[in-house]
Amino acid sequence: MRHPMSRGLLAAFVFAGAVAVTAAGPIGPARADETCQSPYLPKITGQEEFLYVWTLGMEGVGDQSDKLVTIDVRPGSATYGKVIAKVSVGGRHEAHHAGFTDDRRFFWAGGLDDSMIFIFDVHSDPSRPKLVKTIDTFVKDSGGVVGPHTFYALPGRMMITGLSNANDHGGKSALVEYTNDGLFVATHWVPDGKDMRGATGNGADGYNYDVRVLPRKNVMLSSSFTGWSNYMMDFGKMLADEAAMKRFGQTVTLWNLHTRQPRKVFTVPGAPLEIRWAWGPNHNYAFTTAALTSKLWLIYEDDAGQWQAKAVADIGDPAKIPLPVDISISSDDRHLWIDTFMDGTARLFDISDPHNPKEVYQKKIGAQLNMVSQSWDGKRLYFTSSLLANWDKQGNDNEQFLKAYTWDGKQLTHKFTVDFRKENLGRSHIMRFGARSLYSG
């Protein structure tokens, strides 16, 4: 169940330089589990055992605080499909995304509101994560970045995207780098109209969202969402606010991974969010989805070795703003799951020709739908419901769940549901997988 690459080899891989090693060689391609993780992580190739769900505290529900919820997904376990642990961090911080350190021993989870970062030990007892450290100096450390979003493992480092800033709560932001020990390293501001920081391209806006790397090409991509004022705002109020709707990211930025220098800014209108690189050793492309314009975009290296961006498919009916949110690429690069929030639907696209993706399957999961995680073999998928505390639906449609399904290549089959409201947990957001075998050898 554990990836054969030992940590010693991983360290060698790091210092030898990712470009040379990842392409081929005795240790094979560097892959991570659940298909959307950093390539620097050890992976679970078989059955995941635990789901860690970073959950937003919800007024009127339980202790109203953000918490890390652990769900048992071991087949045959007496507690299969049940909550087996929860760690409340106290208070609401707009829990959102989270990620493992490159040794997969610690799990960093962020709060988009007050920029708190909570670090959990997931290796001592993977069934019961423990809160071991809190970073409350993210804004000060970074020189004014607000809203730690993606936590992405690089060798010995945690690369964190910020969504906003402490001067105006707008969208200008940066990537912020820490050591695995929680020491601040550097802030890398996203190019904007005033300072391109050496990058080419037009329309740079300084906005930020996700970050993903392709080490063998020495490139890193970042996408763009919106600032604190918008992502914290009541969704309905924002849609009716013409001024606010002008404040969404319209760019994807290509960076030099090693030097952290921005190289090229692509125009990708309508808030491009999650980025997923293909896994194949010769697949030099990534996908992203523009949330507001409901388009699937391909970022690819062309025959001349130049990086390009183009829209390759509509997602649902863009006129209805289905709002594509989380996406998950299969490990064979043939399929891409795309969740659309407004209609609560999971959509499967055939991306075997990345320039011509086609929707081949869809299933309504709930009244609202945000995150999707799939196992490395693509046979198990997990879905959660919450987008942002003030963007989730109102009334009965404000379902909060984790739903587990199996995928047989033709259809999704429901396995279990955890109702996060009935369980007094809150709003379920990002899921990550755990397994004891990661730490047993």
Binding site: A166, H169, G236, K237, A243, T293
Partner: protein
């Protein structure tokens, strides 16, 4: 009215003299206490306001000193003064955005909670005779507790909690003592914040140099034509007053323009939503309601007085620096100055309570453009200095 005006003028001249004297003493005192250039210039602005502004009214019990300015500025910019350290005064009154927020019709507070009304600018707030859009407070010194305590703004649970926060911050050690001779309390907290805000003055605009300074070339012929319309055919100056020696462009009164009525009675089945630059799609109200709380009602001044005649009445804002303070009206519903001029050209939103001063104007397009050019001539000369002044302190954590 004439007698009242004369008396006000005499009081104004007396105030100006006293302030000049006080400012001179404050500058000397500040130098002794290590106040920096920003503080000294701020005090000097109060003593000698830029061209076009009258003397600054300052409460007798809260004279301006450099130490108070420095402390008030630090408090104004400090995010730690909100319940969860995310919101400062400056997060809604953003220096680079005209000391308001150009990116939102109405602001959001702690945990993203919704406000009903547009953030008014701090620029020249020293002259406001009543605070908030519904004029529910008379003094800057007491106004500050509104946002500090409002659940939808900075959400502090009590005044005592704010003071406890300040007492717990090492970087405030000695600052209240130096400015007020004693520790922080509700009185001095209000006085410090009011003092800083009183120094945020912006005038000596192209209009001021043209109208009060005698520089015939300071504004364009189009802007000059706009001024003729402003004080003539368009009738704007009936509420946005222009004096012989200075202008605040407000009557300090409250009026019903129909904006409040329109907000409360809107029945559009869909809203155009911009999903990318230049790309908008209609979104059904039902969809918007599905992902948002119902907007709170806003009845204007009536909420303060319970007087039915005050329904949908809001304060007349100054028009100084108006080119910097979009979006416009008390609910931020108009995005550009052209939108605003056209709104009044249409005669506001007709309904029973509409202020009789507002009626269709019959403006030609070139007249609309001239009025906009005039409004754009009202931007103060030293905005960058005010921004640098504000940013001379950190944002607190």
């Amino acid at each position: 009215m004439t007698g009242l005006s004369n008396r006000r003028a005499r009081i104004g001249r007396l105030l100006a003299f006293l302030l000049t004297l006080a400012a001179a003493m404050a500058i000397a005192s500040a130098a002794a206490n290590g106040a920096d250039d920003h503080d000294r210039r701020a005090v000097a602005r109060i003593a000698a306001p830029p061209l076009g502004l009258p003397p600054v009214p300052v409460p007798a019990d809260n004279p301006v000193t450099a130490e108070k300015v420095a402390l008030g500025r630090k408090l104004f910019m400090d995010r730690r003064l909100s319940r969860n350290s995310t919101m400062s005064c400056a997060m809604c009154h953003i220096p680079e955005q005209g000391f308001t927020n150009n990116e939102l019709k109405t602001p959001v507070g702690v945990e993203g909670r919704s406000l009903r009304r547009n953030a008014p600018t701090i620029l020249n707030v020293a002259y406001a005779r009543a605070m908030f859009h519904d004029a529910r407070d008379d003094f800057l010194e007491t106004q500050v507790f509104g946002p500090l305590l409002a659940r939808v703004e900075m959400a502090n649970p009590s005044v005592g909690a704010v003071l406890a926060t300040i007492r717990g911050l090492d970087d405030y050690a000695g600052l209240f003592e130096r400015a007020f001779g004693g520790p922080a309390n509700a009185h001095t907290l209000g006085q410090a914040l009011a003092t800083y805000q009183r120094t945020v003055l912006a005038a000596n605009t192209p209009f001021d140099r043209w109208y009060y300074g005698g520089d015939q070339d300071a504004i364009s012929p189009r802007a000059a034509a706009g001024f003729e319309l402003f004080t003539g055919k368009a009738g704007c100056s009936a509420c946005h007053l222009v004096g012989e020696e200075s202008a605040l462009f407000t009557d300090h009164g409250l009026h019903d323009t129909g904006v409040g009525y329109a907000r409360e009675t809107a029945s559009d089945e869909s809203v155009m939503v911009e999903i990318a630059p230049g790309v908008s799609v209609p979104v059904a109200r039902a969809v918007i309601r599905s992902v948002g709380l119902p907007p709170e009602k806003d009845l204007g001044r009536l909420e303060v007085t319970d007087d039915p005649d005050d329904l949908y009445k809001y304060r007349t804002p100054s028009l100084r620096n108006v080119a910097l303070t979009a979006p416009y009206m008390h609910d931020g519903s108009l995005q550009t100055l052209t939108d605003v001029v056209r709104f009044y050209d249409r005669g506001g939103v007709p309904h029973d309570g509409l202020d009789p001063l507002i009626e269709p104007l019959g403006l030609r397009d070139d007249e609309v453009a001239a009025l906009v050019a005039f409004l754009e001539s009202l931007t103060g000369e030293a905005i960058d200095d005010l921004i640098a002044d504000a940013r001379s302190v950190g944002v607190g954590g």
